[in-house]
Symmetry: C2
Subunit: 116 residues, 2 copies
């Protein structure tokens, strides 16, 4: 699945985007990825203290919505914002992260060190 870099799986609308943000795991993952540029599944597992299937499932959903891009490097899969993600969506994520330093603050601590 990684590396196919599919584009325009369907219409990327504001509604699709905000539905993707309407879950704690997905929102925190996106804000962290938006800040850090790229994170792998195990980074997010450690940061958010959630199970592997849970993280993976939500990342898959974000990938299928066209928000994230996955890149496999060896055994690891790294996720970053999709290059074709509209600028307004990128700005929304950046704005949200900047203006809400407390939200996802605990997660940010764990991100500094790589887990695996």
């Amino acid at each position: 699945m990684a590396g196919q870099n599919k584009i325009s799986e369907s219409a990327f609308t504001p509604l699709v985007f905000y539905k993707a943000l309407a879950d704690d795991t997905r929102l925190q993952s996106l804000l962290l990825i938006s800040e850090q540029g790229e994170l792998c599944v195990c980074d997010l597992m450690a940061a958010l203290q959630q199970s592997q299937p849970k993280i993976s499932r939500h990342l898959a959903q974000l990938r299928k919505s066209g928000i994230l891009l996955d890149r496999r490097q060896g055994q690891w899969v790294y996720y970053s914002l999709h290059p074709q993600l509209p600028d307004w969506a990128r700005q929304v994520l950046a704005l949200t992260a900047e203006q809400n330093p407390d939200y996802a603050a605990r997660a940010r601590q764990y991100v500094t060190t790589h887990c695996c």
Copy 2:
């Protein structure tokens, strides 16, 4: 219920905000209100072509989340962005409306004329 102008019904977090945007009726209502400043229930019924209980229910949810403020004037209830809505949230709405002119375009047509 109108006119109580309650504040801080609970923590207003990014997650609460984006959950509120994760529904077509609520998102379109918010973008229209963000553009127009203030709209009443029947304006939104006409704009979105949805039933009265449906519109009313979603507006109530937005009010309870602290996103909208309601103001009764005679038989009509007008909704606007809550004065205490954080600036970043306001910017998100404005940005989304500006950068997605097509979304909610049909609704915008109907808004020009008042319904009742």
